[in-house]
C-alpha cells in the first residue's frame, strides 16, 4: 500500500516535471531568433559571432540569425525574396524598393511603432528629418544621415607658395590662380577632375549654394536649375576654363588610375574630386600627399558657396518586413542603433575593450586592438571589421554626423591635412533641397521623363563644355528639355513639396534646417592651437 503510494507520487512528479519542461521549452522556442538578411561584401563581411552582433543582441535582449546577401547580386536577391514571399524578419533594403513595395504591403510602416522606440521617434521627427519619409508619409525603411564628406577644393600648397599666390576666395580668384599656373608651366594641369558629375558636385553649390541633388527655390516654388539663366552662366564658365586648358583636358574619359597617377606625379595643381588623401596615400609620394590642402569653397558669381555632400538620406537602410514574427522586438532591436550607445557600438565597438575617449573628446582605439592588428599584419580598419564587426557597410544606420565622422577618421590615424579638410567641408555644407513627398505613381512618371532628360542633358553639356556645340545653341537645348517634360517634372516636384508642407503645417518656401554640432573639433584636428 505504502509502496504503491510512493510509486504513484513518483510517477505524478515525473509527469509534472515532464509537463513543466515541455512548456518551458515551448516558451523558449517561441523566442526563436529573428532572421536578419544583411548585405555583405567580401572585405566587410558581417559575422554573427563578432563582438558587434553579440553585444547588440546582449544589450537589447533580442536574438537574431544573420542571412548574408552578397552585394554583387543584392537587388536580384531582394527581388527573388519579394517574389517568393519568403521574407526574413529584418532586411537590408534600398529606399526605392522599400518605398515601392512598402505601400503594397511587403514592409511595415515603422512609424506606427514609434511609441515603443524612443530613439527612432526622436530621430525620425517629421519636422527635423522629413527627407527620411516615404512618399505616403510613412517610414518603410530606416535610413540615416550619412553625410559623406567629399574632399572639397584641394590645392597643392607647396606649388602655390612657390608661385606666391594666396588662397583664392572667389571663383574668379581661382581662375586667376589657374591662369598663373598655366603661364608658369604650360604642361601643368591647373584643375583636375574626372567626369561631368564631379563638375556638378563642386560647381553646383558654388553657383546656387545648394547640393547637386539640387532644386532651387524661386518665390516659394521649386525650380529646376537647368531651366534658369544662371545655368547657362555655369556651363559657359566651364567651357571657358576648358577652352583655356585650365581644366584637365581628358576629364571625360580618364580612369581613376590615370587621374590619380597624374596627381601622384605632381602634375595637378588643384583638384575637385570625391576621393581623398587616404585613397592617394598608398599611391603617391609622401611630399605630394602632404602638400595637398583643402580650402574653403569659393564664393560663386552670385555670392553663394558650399560643399556638396550626400544629404540626409542614404540609399541603403534596414526594413522590417510584413512577415516579421515579432515586430516589437525587431523595432526594439533597431531602435538601439539610433541611441548614442548604439551608434558608438556600431562605429567603435565596446568602450574599454576596443576604444577609449580622452578628456578632450578625442576617440582612440585601445592599444590592445592596435597591437592585435599589427600582429595580424592588417591595417586597423580591416582588422576591426573582420574581427570585431566594427563599421560594417550596408547597414548605413546608425546616423554618422560630421563630428563623429571626423573623430572616427582621427581614431583610424588619418593624416592631419585630411582631417582638416573634412572639418572645412563639414563647416561649409551646402544647403539641402526641400523634402518632396511624391506618390509612387508620380515617382514613376518622374523616372520615366528623367531617364530621357538625363541622357539629353549629359550629351549637350559635354558638347558645350568641350566646344563641340556653340553656346549660342543654348535656347535650342532648353526647348528640347521642355519638350521632354522638364516642366512637368518641376510641377510634380512642387506637388510633392506641397504635400509635405501640408503634413507639417508649414508655409511655402520652408525648408527644415540641418545643423550639426562641430564644437571642439578645431582643436582636435589642429585647425586652431
Amino acid at each position: 500500500m505504502f509502496v504503491r503510494e510512493k510509486l504513484v507520487r513518483l510517477v505524478v512528479s515525473f509527469v509534472l516535471l515532464f509537463l513543466l519542461s515541455v512548456s518551458f521549452s515551448a516558451v523558449l522556442q517561441s523566442k526563436e531568433p529573428l532572421t536578419f538578411a544583411i548585405g555583405s561584401v567580401s572585405w566587410r563581411e558581417p559575422k554573427e559571432e563578432s563582438v558587434f552582433f553579440q553585444e547588440w543582441q546582449k544589450r537589447t535582449g533580442v536574438r537574431i540569425k544573420l542571412i548574408k546577401m552578397d552585394s554583387s547580386a543584392i537587388n536580384e536577391k531582394i527581388n527573388t525574396m519579394l517574389a517568393s514571399g519568403d521574407l526574413p524578419d529584418i532586411m537590408s533594403c534600398t529606399r526605392t524598393i522599400a518605398n515601392d513595395y512598402g505601400p503594397q504591403g511587403a514592409f511595415i510602416p515603422i512609424n506606427k511603432y514609434f511609441d515603443k522606440a524612443p530613439n527612432l521617434k526622436k530621430y525620425f521627427d517629421v519636422k527635423k528629418n522629413p527627407w527620411l519619409y516615404g512618399p505616403d508619409g510613412n517610414i518603410y525603411i530606416l535610413t540615416a544621415t550619412w553625410p559623406y564628406l567629399a574632399w572639397g577644393w584641394v590645392w597643392n600648397k607647396k606649388w602655390a607658395d612657390k608661385l606666391g599666390v594666396s588662397a583664392p576666395k572667389t571663383i574668379d580668384d581661382w581662375v586667376t590662380v589657374w591662369e598663373k599656373v598655366k603661364a608658369s608651366d604650360p604642361k601643368a594641369i591647373p584643375l583636375g577632375t574626372q567626369g561631368t558629375g564631379l563638375l556638378y558636385q563642386f560647381f553646383f553649390p558654388t553657383w546656387w549654394g545648394i547640393t547637386s541633388e539640387g532644386l532651387v527655390m524661386e518665390r516659394g516654388n521649386l525650380r529646376d536649375p537647368w531651366l534658369t539663366p544662371e545655368m547657362k552662366g555655369l556651363i559657359t564658365f566651364l567651357h571657358d576654363i576648358y577652352d583655356k586648358k585650365l581644366l584637365y583636358q581628358e576629364f571625360l574619359t580618364a580612369t581613376n588610375e590615370t587621374f590619380y597617377s597624374l596627381i601622384a606625379q605632381g602634375k595637378v595643381f588643384s583638384i575637385v574630386h570625391y576621393k581623398g588623401v587616404p585613397y592617394l596615400q598608398a599611391k603617391a609620394p609622401q611630399d605630394v600627399v602632404n602638400a595637398l590642402e583643402t580650402l574653403p569653397p569659393p564664393k560663386g558669381p552670385y555670392g553663394k558657396s558650399g560643399c556638396d555632400w550626400m544629404g540626409p538620406t542614404s540609399w541603403w537602410g534596414i526594413s522590417i518586413t510584413s512577415k516579421c514574427k515579432d515586430i516589437d522586438s525587431a523595432v526594439k532591436f533597431l531602435d538601439y542603433l539610433f541611441s548614442k550607445e548604439g551608434t558608438y557600438l556600431y562605429y567603435l565597438g565596446v568602450k574599454g575593450v576596443t576604444y577609449e575617449i580622452a578628456k578632450d573628446g578625442t576617440i582612440r582605439f585601445t592599444q590592445k586592438v592596435i597591437d592585435e592588428a599589427k600582429k595580424a599584419n592588417m591595417d586597423l580598419d580591416t582588422y576591426l571589421v573582420t574581427n570585431y564587426g566594427i563599421n560594417l557597410i550596408f547597414i548605413n544606420i546608425p546616423p554618422l554626423d560630421p563630428k563623429l565622422h571626423i573623430l572616427h577618421a582621427k581614431a583610424y590615424g588619418q593624416p592631419e591635412n585630411y582631417l582638416k579638410g573634412l572639418l572645412i567641408v563639414a563647416k561649409n555644407l551646402a544647403k539641402y533641397r526641400p523634402p518632396i513627398w511624391l506618390t509612387a505613381e508620380e515617382q514613376k512618371r518622374v523616372n520615366s521623363i528623367m531617364s530621357n532628360i538625363s541622357t539629353y542633358r549629359e550629351e549637350w553639356v559635354s558638347k558645350f563644355i568641350l566646344g563641340k556645340e556653340p553656346l549660342t545653341k543654348w535656347d535650342e537645348f532648353i526647348s528640347g528639355l521642355k519638350k521632354m517634360g522638364a516642366e512637368e517634372v518641376e510641377q510634380l516636384y512642387n506637388k510633392g513639396y506641397e504635400r509635405y508642407l501640408k503634413t507639417v503645417g508649414k508655409p511655402k518656401g520652408y525648408v527644415p534646417p540641418i545643423k550639426y554640432d562641430l564644437t571642439g573639433l578645431d582643436k582636435i584636428v589642429g585647425l586652431s592651437k
Binding site: N75, A83, A106, T258, S454, E459
Partner: protein, 310 residues
C-alpha cells in the same frame, strides 16, 4: 498503339543510352528556356515582384509605347543595328581568314604559338580591354597620338570623345579580343576536310591558292553559313559591357544602344529600382526581330545553298 510499340522496339530501346545522354539537354531547354517564356507577360504588366506576375495589373502596350516614344528610340535601334552590321562585315570574315592563314602554316611550333597568342586576349576581362583602349587612345600619353604627333606632325586627336571613331574603336577592340577564340571553330572544321582531296588536287596540279579556293573554302562553307545565320538572331542585341566602359556623353550619338538604354533606365537610372516591365518589353522586341531575321536569312540560305538551320 502498334506504332508506339514499334518505335519503342526499333528506335528507343536500341538507342536508349543515346536518349539518356540527350535527356539533360532537353531538360535544360525545358527548364531554362521554355518555362521562363511565360514570364514574357511581364512586358504587358506593371510588374511588382511582391504582388507576383499573375496578379500584377495589366498595362497593355505601355512599356512598348514608353520605349518607342522615347526621342532616342530610333537612334538606339540605328546604333545597335549598325554596330552589328559593321561587326558582321569586319568582324565575321577576320577569324575565317585567320584560320585559313593558320592552316597554311607549315611550322607546327609557330602555328601553336600564334594561336595561343591570339587566343589569349579572350581571357582578359572587359574592363582590362577598355583600360588598354583608353590608354592607347589617350590624347596626351597614348601611343597612337604620340605617333600622330611625332611622326606625322598632326594635332593629337581625342578619339574617345569623337562619335565618328566610336564604331571603329569598338569593333577593332572586339575583333582583337575574340579573333583567336572565334577561329577555333573554323580550325576544327578544317580538320574535318578529307586530306585525300588535297592529295588528289596536288596530283591534278592545283597550286596553293587553288587548293584553298576549291577545297578548303567549300569545306568551310556549311560552318560559315550556320554561324552567319545564328549571328542574325542577335541582330538587335549587342554586348554592352565594352560600350558602357568606353562611351561617354560625347559619343552617345553613335555609341548609345538599346542595351545601354535599358541599363541606364533599369539599373543605373534615377530611382534605382529596376524597371523589369520595360526591360522585358525591349527584350521581347529584340527577340522578335531576331527571330524574323533568322527565319528570313535561313530561307534565303536554303534557297541559294544546301546548308541551312532547318
Amino acid at each position: 498503339m502498334r506504332n508506339i510499340r514499334y518505335w519503342w522496339d526499333k528506335n528507343f530501346w536500341p538507342n536508349r543510352y543515346l536518349f539518356l545522354m540527350f535527356l539533360p539537354g532537353l531538360l535544360y531547354f525545358i527548364i531554362f528556356c521554355y518555362i521562363p517564356m511565360g514570364g514574357i507577360i511581364i512586358a504587358f504588366k506593371d510588374y511588382s515582384p511582391w504582388i507576383g506576375i499573375l496578379k500584377s495589373p495589366w498595362v497593355g502596350l505601355k512599356h512598348f509605347q514608353d520605349f518607342f516614344s522615347s526621342p532616342y528610340a530610333w537612334r538606339l535601334i540605328r546604333n545597335t543595328l549598325l554596330l552589328n552590321i559593321y561587326g558582321l562585315i569586319f568582324g565575321f570574315p577576320i577569324p575565317i581568314i585567320f584560320a585559313l592563314l593558320l592552316n597554311e602554316l607549315a611550322s607546327e611550333w609557330y602555328k601553336k604559338m600564334v594561336q595561343t597568342l591570339t587566343y589569349f586576349p579572350y581571357f582578359l576581362s572587359m574592363p582590362i580591354v577598355a583600360g588598354l583602349v583608353i590608354q592607347l587612345l589617350s590624347p596626351s600619353s597614348g601611343i597612337i597620338n604620340i605617333i600622330l604627333v611625332k611622326w606625322f606632325g598632326r594635332e593629337p586627336i581625342y578619339f574617345l570623345t569623337k562619335p565618328e571613331y566610336f564604331r571603329t574603336i569598338y569593333i577593332s577592340a572586339n575583333v582583337w579580343r575574340s579573333m583567336g577564340y572565334s577561329a577555333i571553330i573554323y580550325l576544327a572544321a578544317l580538320t574535318g576536310i578529307d586530306p585525300t582531296l588535297y592529295e588528289a588536287a596536288i596530283i591534278d596540279g592545283a597550286n596553293r591558292w587553288q587548293r584553298v579556293r576549291f577545297i578548303t573554302l567549300p569545306g568551310l562553307t556549311p560552318t560559315i553559313t550556320i554561324l552567319l545565320i545564328l549571328s542574325m538572331g542577335s541582330i538587335l542585341s549587342v554586348g554592352i559591357d565594352l560600350i558602357l566602359l568606353l562611351y561617354n556623353p560625347m559619343t552617345y550619338e553613335t555609341a548609345d544602344v538599346i542595351g545601354t538604354f535599358v541599363y541606364r533606365r533599369g539599373i543605373a537610372g534615377i530611382g534605382g529600382a529596376p524597371d523589369l516591365g520595360l526591360g522585358t518589353a525591349v527584350g521581347l522586341f529584340q527577340s522578335v526581330v531576331g527571330l524574323v531575321t533568322i527565319m528570313l536569312v535561313n530561307s534565303i540560305a536554303r534557297r541559294i545553298s544546301e546548308t541551312s538551320l532547318w
